[in-house]
Amino acid sequence: MKNYETIIGLEVHVELATKTKIFCGCSTAFGAAPNTHTCPVCTGQPGALPVLNRQVVEYAIAVGLATHCEITRYSKFDRKNYFYPDNPQNYQISQLYLPICRNGYVEIETEQGTKQVRIHEIHMEEDAGKLIHDEWEDVSIVDYNRSGVPLIEIVSEPDMRSADEVIAYLEALRQTIQYLGASDCKLNEGSMRADVNLSVREAGSGELGTRTEMKNLNSFKAITHAIEGERARQIELLEMGRKVVQETRRWDDNKESSHAMRSKEDAQDYRYFPEPDLVPLAISEEWIEGVKARQPELRPQKLLRYKEEYDIPDYDARILTQSKHMADLFEAAVRLCGKPKKVSNWLMVECMRLLKEHEMDPEEIAFSPEHLAKLIELVDEGTINGTVAKEVFAEIFASDVDPVDYVARHDLGAVNDEGALRECVEQVLAENPQSVADYRGGKTKAMGFLVGQTMKAMKGKAAPGLVNRILKELLSD
């Protein structure tokens, strides 16, 4: 088989975190009863007119600036015409000719080092409603609550070469947008959606192969699998001497495969033209400067600050800042307890372990920084030992319990009663003469075993410092 190169470009839709819709005052809140967040504008009533939400522009500019784009000073909206019942006007207000941002890039880390993925453009548009097909009744019903929710579409150049690079690009975008507060970027809830354009070509060839577009990718896992599957499918076609057909394919998460939705031949003609109900958008220097001034601290600045201000190693700082939510949690807990290293340690070790165990994203962390700070205090003042602390942390992680209450309620406070401990240690030594002999004979490792036995006897509640001291005392006797 020949050596093939995969060429990937992405179209990423991001739902913006505005309170109201892009062209009317209806709420964007998720999960309301069907058609309750609607008005004449977002249900396409005759005579209704769109009015642009300024915050949408503000977010789009912010994302554009953070991804090194040029901001289009004279931007326009266009109508994309197509019939579908989730689209009440039967046209979508989008941007074709003069999108708000152009010519940017995002930096990603690859095995070969830092790489730039270029951004062709970012444009603003409205989301459609949601169709629900009731197969039992053989009808379809439509909910327009989502109709008019603001989106930005970020179109990359075909600069990615592997699934890993695609994931790195999406992670980078997601981080940036979350840091800006412009969206929560949840793939599983659809607030971030990625369409993958993929083609293959013989390595070294200067020409691009025929590409396909893949839709309905709701997780990084699906994206990775879809890319691998599509690459293999296209290579197989070429190896058999057949051609790749330019088409849109739909990923099926259950079957872990994609199928053709429509080919280029039946691609629709969207009959784009300038939206006559909206005036061109003139973006002043002051507005852009204002957005810059209001921009929160982004990840690169945070990384530097964590090293300087908290003396956190680079690797740890990267993990802590991977999600804005985690970074916010870290900073809040540090403000409360003043112990950056300890907070970092809890997040880096126990928190990451639990996230992995529960297959959760850092965004889904639900505990409060107060409780983590309190936990650290409890350990430092010797109220609980490390083993208990881990158990309490798991409870904090799972249901955000107050560690002080929890420790009191479950009687987990460490035993600091020297007399009781000494009794217990004496008992352990008496039961383990071999280990005692080993230790005295110079095998210091035996100490660990004896500590463990003591802890076990104390049901994990013994203050470890105290246990160590008593053991050493008694063993040196």
Partner: protein, 512 residues
């Protein structure tokens, strides 16, 4: 004197001075409608009970001193492409036969806030596409001057209702002459304001970048006062303009001394009916005698205006009318197999021939591969036409010409030759392309006894200048009532009109 003979402002004054009540004014209007509708058919819906109830409330407000404006208690008819809450709004199309809006158009809201009482909704060309009101799905409207002739269009119902003295004033809309041309055919006065002056919120769009709502009344004073009432910046319409100079009645002065009036030679050439030409030039002479400086000049580009207009208006319309699909409201075919069949059948049966023609034309000019050659080109022509007017307005304050190449054609003469019908918009479409204000007012009669309309165009935001010129001209000739309003026997076609009424929705519309 008959209450309905009074102009809107005169009627408002009578109500204010307690000569009559708002309820009496509304009842007089309803009585006129009852007696004249069988002959004219200007209305699609009559809001009888609602109007009387509303008049009672308005009367109480007037008496309490809370409503003192010039239009308080005055009945008004609304073109059926302006949404009226709880009052059926159809655009004279089968596809909206059952559509009852949940909100009221901004222009109508402003009239209601000023105390005007909505009597009903007027007939029009379907979705304002037409120049005769014959494309209405609910029967034709007849010209109050001669029932064998059309009232013009698309605001034919509103103009006929005013000319027939069924109402003292009405609202119309103008995309390419839809208000000025029927005013001319019906012998009444109307203003298309500068684009962006009256909110389009609630105006069911035809060509969004060209549509404007305007007043139709029996004299210039009424039009200025009504326009003053409906014009305002509206944040719900992004194309609405913040203006400070909205007191249009300030333009009502009989003084044209030194006013520079230009007559485009382009408007006097081939295709213009000689009688219309003579009458228009006579009107220009009258203004000249009153001290205006009148001269002819070459405007240029006139022959490109019609194609540019139809490309832009139809392109926008093909998209604007996409929402009428049977899914959310309006007409849905009774039987269909699946989504696409539902779309196809609902739209095939719901739209009339002229609307379909324009949707197809518009879809074509926006198609990939044709967009640059048609739509984009038309936008360039539009910009050039605006430049030609900018040059003209450097030399002239007012551009004078006919509102239409001829007087009202007979019923049934126009639809057979759509291209000919489109060419009839030659003098009006440029104002829409350039966004200019224009006024159309009666200036004489042809030998068949049909009114001739004079059109005065001003530069953007110069409504007061054209109002002044129109008002000055108006002082030189008395208002002529239509035979229908004056109670003279309609010469022909009464029986024919009666037939239309039976076929049309008159019986059912009373209940709406």
């Amino acid at each position: 004197m008959d209450i309905m003979q009074a102009t809107a402002v005169a009627l408002g004054r009578k109500i204010k001075e307690k000569e009559i009540t708002a309820v009496e004014a509304v009842e007089a209007s309803l009585a006129a409608i009852r007696s004249r509708e069988p002959q004219v058919n200007s209305f699609l819906a009559i809001n009888e009970e609602g109007a009387i109830e509303r008049a009672r409330r308005v009367q109480r407000e007037i008496e309490a001193g809370r409503l003192a404006g010039p239009l308080a208690g005055v009945p008004v008819a609304i073109k059926d492409n302006l949404c009226t809450r709880e009052l059926r709004t159809t655009c004279a199309s089968r596809i909206l036969v059952n559509y009852i809006p949940t909100y009221t158009a901004e222009a109508v809201k402003r009239l209601e806030a000023a105390g005007a009482v909505v009597i009903g909704k007027t007939n029009m060309d379907e979705f304002a596409m037409g120049s005769t009101t014959e494309t209405s799905a609910f029967g034709v409207t007849r010209n109050p001057w001669n029932p064998e002739h059309v009232p013009g269009g698309s605001s034919g119902g509103s103009c006929a209702a005013v000319a027939a003295e069924e109402v003292p004033f009405a609202l119309g809309s103008d995309t390419g002459g839809s208000l000025r041309q029927p005013c001319s055919f019906c012998g009444v006065t109307g203003i298309k304001p500068t684009y962006g002056t009256v909110s389009r919120y609630g105006l069911i769009a035809y060509g969004s970048s060209l549509d404007q709502v305007g007043p139709i009344a029996r004299d210039v004073t009424d039009c200025a006062v009504i326009l003053e009432t409906i014009a305002a910046y509206d944040r719900k319409d992004s194309t609405s303009i913040k203006r400070e100079d909205l007191v249009f009645s300030q333009g009502l002065s009989d003084d044209v001394k030194g006013l520079r009036i230009g007559i485009p030679r382009d408007y006097l050439g081939e295709g213009l009916d000689p009688e219309v030409k003579e009458t228009i030039l006579e009107a220009a002479k009258v203004l000249g005698e009153k001290g205006a400086l009148v001269e002819e000049f070459d405007l240029g580009l006139t022959r490109y205006a019609i194609p540019a207009y139809y490309v832009i208006a139809c392109g926008e319309a093909s998209s604007n009318l996409a929402r009428f699909d049977g899914v959310k409201y309006g007409y849905r075919a009774e039987e269909y197999q699946g989504l696409h069949d539902m779309y196809k059948k609902s739209r095939s049966k719901g739209f009339g021939a002229e609307v379909k023609r324009r949707i197809m034309l518009g879809s074509f000019v926006l198609s990939s591969g044709y967009y640059d050659a048609y739509y984009l080109k038309a936008l360039k022509v539009k910009a050039l036409i605006k430049q030609a007017f900018d040059r003209a307005f450097a030399s002239y304050d007012v551009i004078l010409g006919p509102a239409a190449p001829a007087t009202a054609p007979k019923l049934g003469e126009s639809l057979g030759n759509p291209l000919q019908m489109y060419l009839g918009d030659i003098y009006t479409v440029s104002a829409n392309l350039a966004g200019l204000p224009g006024i159309s007012l009666p200036c004489g009669m042809d030998s068949r006894g049909l009114p001739i309309g004079l059109q005065l165009l001003g530069d953007c935001f110069q409504e007061k200048t054209i109002i002044r010129a129109a008002y000055s001209y108006e002082q030189t000739r008395p208002y002529r009532r239509s035979p229908l309003a004056a109670g003279e026997a309609m010469q022909v076609g009464q029986a024919a009109a009666g037939e239309t009424m039976q076929d049309g929705p008159l019986a059912e519309r009373r209940h709406l």
